[in-house]
């Protein structure tokens, strides 16, 4: 265990998330069981008031995930000095088996929270709150996820042992210390470029069709937007690892998705990640929202919101591709000849 402020902060944040979700659980169960909009009873009025608290709570969870994911990566970067062979955040996250799963779980919770917020927004637009039960059932499902985030982070940090000097001899020489893999494996650039541009282009096309085209009668188009957004997200990360990062670092072997967030590279990573994450979250939301288009009260709303979210997704992915391409074009590295 490394006793360090950023780690304490991260664990506290994860614990806070999980505690809030846990505290909300009995109320959410109550809401699912007793919700009856036709009634004007005091219990119903109380439940209605509770929905505001839950929205605030989920918003906080969402913001917390964004902030703590950033802090997590930042901190991993900083701690890489403490592990033999770790050159940057990737090395720290590889220091034990919990590192990357913890990061993935956080991202998953982030996307789940944004999806919830998208549903909540649509539902709040309909006078009969048609999704109220679905929404709170979904929220209950997030509790195990929040617990998983805490569990993985805790294990990751507890099992980190820095390679410091011990009294008898230098750490390295006491045993044949296993050196950490400091790079992620990546596709060869040519293939990766294909995956990257094809994946993103199809997501942009589908999202634009959903966003600006005529409203679809069926759900398949929205579903396709969601799927392609997920795939485009994966393709974007693949591309980042395989070639975009290389162009930014102007180094043919440094496959790191985190160093681009650093000051040395002028924080250019934020320019890429913000549109990418916004687009992916919006794309998933667009698909999810459209699934409820047949509920009474949502006939118009679901389509409208789905289209609006799809527009965000299309714009976000486009922005991401443009920025990434501009970064490649302005790089001095020659990867393909």
């Amino acid at each position: 265990m490394i006793f360090q402020p950023a780690i304490i902060a991260l664990l506290l944040a994860a614990a806070l998330c999980m505690t809030m979700m846990l505290a909300a659980t009995p109320f959410a169960v109550q809401l699912i069981r007793h919700w009856d909009l036709r009634s004007g009873s005091e219990r119903q009025l109380r439940l209605e008031r509770l929905t505001y608290l839950f929205s605030m709570l989920m918003m906080l969870v969402c913001v917390l995930q964004v902030l703590s994911t950033l802090l997590f990566v930042f901190n991993a970067e900083r701690m890489s000095i403490m592990f033999v062979g770790a050159m940057c955040a990737v090395g720290t996250l590889n220091a034990n088996v919990y590192g990357f799963p913890a990061l993935y779980a956080q991202l998953l919770l982030f996307f789940a929270a944004t999806s919830w917020l998208a549903l909540n927004r649509v539902d709040n637009g309909a006078r009969n709150y048609p999704l109220i039960r679905a929404k709170y059932a979904f929220m209950l499902a997030l509790l195990p996820l929040a617990a998983l985030v805490l569990y993985l982070q805790f294990n990751f940090f507890v099992r980190l042992e820095p390679d410091v000097i011990t009294s008898c001899c230098g750490s390295m020489f006491s045993e044949d210390a296993d050196t950490i893999a400091s790079e992620l494996s990546a596709l060869p650039p040519r293939q990766a470029m294909l995956v990257f541009y094809l994946g993103l282009a199809s997501a942009i096309a589908l999202a634009a069709w959903q966003g600006w085209g005529k409203p679809a009668r069926t759900r398949w188009r929205a579903t396709a937007v969601g799927l392609s957004s997920g795939l485009a997200f994966a393709a974007a990360l693949t591309g980042l690892l395989a070639f975009v990062a290389l162009y930014i670092y102007e180094h043919p072997h440094h496959h790191c998705p985190f160093c681009i967030l650093k000051a040395e590279y002028h924080y250019r990573g934020y320019l890429l990640y913000i549109p990418l994450f916004a687009a992916a979250a919006a794309g998933l939301g667009a698909a999810l929202v459209a699934q409820f288009g047949r509920r009474q009260g949502l006939e118009q709303l679901a389509a409208q919101h789905s289209a609006a979210l799809a527009r965000i997704a299309a714009l976000g992915f486009t922005l991401f591709v443009l920025i990434a391409t501009a970064m490649i074009a302005s790089s001095r590295l020659i990867l393909l000849d």
Partner: protein, 235 residues
């Protein structure tokens, strides 16, 4: 236009001090008229007024506004209806202390995000109509009772509501000011606004401009008095 159907309202439901403030009210408020709810304190007239004004939802029963059932609307939508269609004048005027008259008046326009310039223009126009433009920037706690009430009326009219609700509006006014207030009400009713008051002030109940009086006792309607309907219909 406003219809109540078997309205019941309970407080502290399910507890030992459960109390039914309204026990089955049916009534209809006609448009562009002045209606008064009268009754002793504890008769449920304030509770009834808050249900009429969409401030509260009935425990049971139906409320219809222009034919649409609004009794099962969540607070989010009820508030929107209240903001756009109802204006309120409270007994204590309920102005926000520390803010100027004009800042108080534009408060109901904030949730709709109207531009400030537009809101100010509308507020100033209302102040002029009520001959209060010289007090535009005065902090409300420095205004007299009559002036405070007129600021409250301006605030109630900001979003151009069709219904105006006033709770014991003359309780804190002397006879002269109460008379002036009634004149203002008459003008508003003539302009087509529906006005609902609660009062036990004879000056109000017996005023010539009142069209209907509903009497309440123990949460039930005990009488409806409709005055000169023929005269009103021709107006």
């Amino acid at each position: 236009m406003l219809e109540l159907n078997n309205i019941r309202k309970a407080f502290n439901q399910g507890r030992h001090n459960e109390h039914w403030a309204l026990r089955g009210i049916d009534l209809e408020i006609p448009p562009a008229r002045i209606s008064v709810l009268k009754g002793p304190s504890g008769s449920g007239k304030s509770t009834l007024l808050s249900i009429l004004g969409c401030l509260a939802r009935p425990t049971e029963g139906r409320v219809r506004l222009d034919g649409e059932d609004i009794s099962a609307l969540p607070e989010r939508f009820l508030t929107e209806i209240r903001r756009r269609r109802f204006g309120f004048i409270f007994q204590q005027f309920n102005l926000v202390r520390g803010l100027s008259a004009i800042d108080n008046i534009i408060l109901p326009g904030i949730p709709d995000g109207q531009p400030r310039a537009k809101l100010l223009a509308r507020g100033e126009q209302l102040l002029t109509e009520l001959q209060l433009d010289h007090r535009r920037d005065a902090a409300v706690e420095w205004l007299s009772g009559g002036e405070q009430q007129r600021v409250a009326i301006c605030r109630a009219l900001l979003n151009d509501p069709t219904v105006l609700i006033a709770d014991e509006p003359t309780a804190n006014l002397d006879s002269k000011l109460a008379g002036e207030f009634l004149l203002i009400l008459e003008r508003l009713a003539q302009a087509g606004r529906t006005i609902i008051l609660t009062s036990h002030d004879p000056l109000v109940i017996e005023a010539d401009i009142v069209d209907q009086v509903f009497s309440l006792r123990d949460g039930r309607l005990t009488g409806v008095e409709i005055r000169h309907p023929a005269f009103r219909l021709t107006r």
